[in-house]
């Protein structure tokens, strides 16, 4: 397998963009990525992309050009972006192509997601009785975790406070004003223990990444970041996931642990070697639990980590340097690629006001979603 690099990264600002479709935001991000890489659309040899709620990606050739390239639509829920990235990387690693595109975009209506039971193989009563909400799942998971591992409500608040502070410094973020801890803690409750400011919102946005072989990187003299590994994993037995009317009594398996271990093994490094991380923060509790599930700390240590500011941009392990989902919102198809975009920015030293100091060399991203899947990517400079 050949080494694969990111040589172009483009983003369409997250949030709300009236009058521009999700796919048009995708096209915008592709043009940004091509300009960043110094390439034309005709140079792109294959493409993978998709959205959860904004249509197929391959229609983009209408705007980008009918070059005849293979364009594979990816529809993999919250891992749509991660799966597009994994596929594009594999196409180059296998030696089939030298330049590939991974693109993810979305545009969701306002308010919480309302999934249909049948789409998830679940009976209608489960949705009718009001138990099929993603927000509830996250509240239920962190509620138990807090009681088992001694995490305080204040720590949940600190995660959100950090997200908005970092979002203020990220041009592509949606929420760009700091929110103080008191306001976060005293905001209306959505699902106990999580208040309004502790949840991300469905949103809009798009990200495109141009991948290339080592040969092309040299030819172009590109500002490249190496993809050390990508791993996408689905849930093992006994995992506790979104939309589960029952959980196995022998529980504890987690798709994130599988994806994380696989990615670290392939990259040949461990959590202690990572300089910056983007972790799925659908809500504050998710970031806390994912710190442990990805191996960065032990269960319960997050309390001290947050109190000491270890996950701040200037901390030992900066987490969600662009404010994550909490500040950027969650356009499902684009969210996982946003994390990789942010890591690319950080490793290239282009983070501006949010740049992690001392030239980070390794970056980790983790996306998680329904119905229990995780995607991890490790980048190296």
């Amino acid at each position: 397998m050949r080494d694969v690099y990111i040589i172009g990264a483009g983003i369409h600002a997250f949030g709300r963009t009236e009058g521009r479709s999700g796919r048009d935001q995708g096209v915008y991000s592709v043009r940004e990525a091509m300009a960043d890489a110094g390439l034309e659309w005709g140079d792109v040899e294959c493409a993978y992309g998709g959205s959860a709620a904004a249509g197929n990606a391959d229609i983009m050739v209408n705007e980008l050009g009918l070059t005849g390239l293979p364009f594979i639509n990816v529809s993999n829920g919250c891992a749509t972006g991660g799966s597009a990235l994994a596929s594009a990387r594999n196409a180059i690693a296998a030696g089939e192509f030298d330049i590939a595109l991974a693109v993810g975009f979305d545009k969701h209506p306002r308010g919480a997601f309302n999934a249909k039971p049948a789409d998830y193989g679940l009976p209608e009563w489960y949705g009718e009785t009001g138990m099929m909400l993603t927000t509830q799942f996250f509240a239920l998971k962190i509620q138990r975790y807090m009681h088992l591992h001694g995490i305080s409500r204040e720590t949940l608040g600190r995660v959100a406070e950090k997200a908005f502070r970092n979002g203020e410094r990220a041009e592509h973020a949606w929420r760009r004003s700091p929110v103080d801890l008191d306001t976060i803690m005293n905001a209306p409750m959505i699902n106990d223990p999580l208040t309004k400011y502790m949840f991300c919102s469905p949103a809009e946005g798009a990200v495109a990444l141009i991948l290339a072989s080592e040969k092309k990187v040299k030819e172009l003299g590109a500002d490249a970041v190496k993809i050390a590994s990508v791993a996408v994993r689905t849930r093992p037995p006994g995992s506790f996931e979104v939309f589960a009317p029952s959980v196995d009594i022998d529980n504890g398996g987690k798709p994130t642990v599988l994806a994380s271990n696989a990615a670290f093994n392939t990259a040949g490094i461990g959590p202690e070697d990572i300089d910056v991380a983007q972790l799925q923060d659908t809500e504050s509790g998710a970031e806390i639990m994912h710190m442990a599930e990805n191996g960065f700390c032990k269960d319960g240590e997050q309390e001290q980590w947050l109190a000491e500011g270890r996950t701040e941009i200037t901390g030992m392990l900066p987490v969600n340097t662009d404010g994550g989902c909490l500040a950027c919102g969650e356009p499902v198809g684009a969210s996982g690629l946003r994390q990789v975009y942010e890591n690319t920015v950080q490793l290239r030293g282009r983070g501006g006001a949010r740049q992690v100091p001392n030239s980070p060399k390794t970056a980790y991203s983790h996306v998680y979603g329904a119905p229990g899947l995780s995607g991890v990517a490790i980048l190296e400079r």
Binding site: N114, G127, G130, L133, N191, P245, S246
Partner: protein
Amino acid sequence: MSQTLSPIAAGLWTDEPSPRLIGGRLPSGKIIFPMPKGDSARDVEVYPLSRSGTLWSWTRQDFRPKEPYTGPEAFEPYLLGFVELPNETIVETRITEAKLEDLKLGMTMEFVVVSFDEHRSTYAFRPEKKL
């Protein structure tokens, strides 16, 4: 419990004086809930679940969900959570006859059928009544 209410779905709990949720027993011995339907039910044995268990996690729904929720228009926040039925499975459920601040990890909970709206009933668990 009014006799005029009809269950929100058939086959969710047993029709007996002390009703029980209907789970399924896989060939491996694992217990799941609900009992699957159609092809997924192949080799799955109907398995009525215990009426008593312990609280595994909980939350309160503080906003009215969008569809497919079909509860009353006049919204009242409701409690829900997971109850661990010993040696069986951990079921998601409405929680009734309790306040948020009453709920504790591991407390004993018991099965009950409750009204869902004017016409329909659903299942729930409530903190065990000390007799």
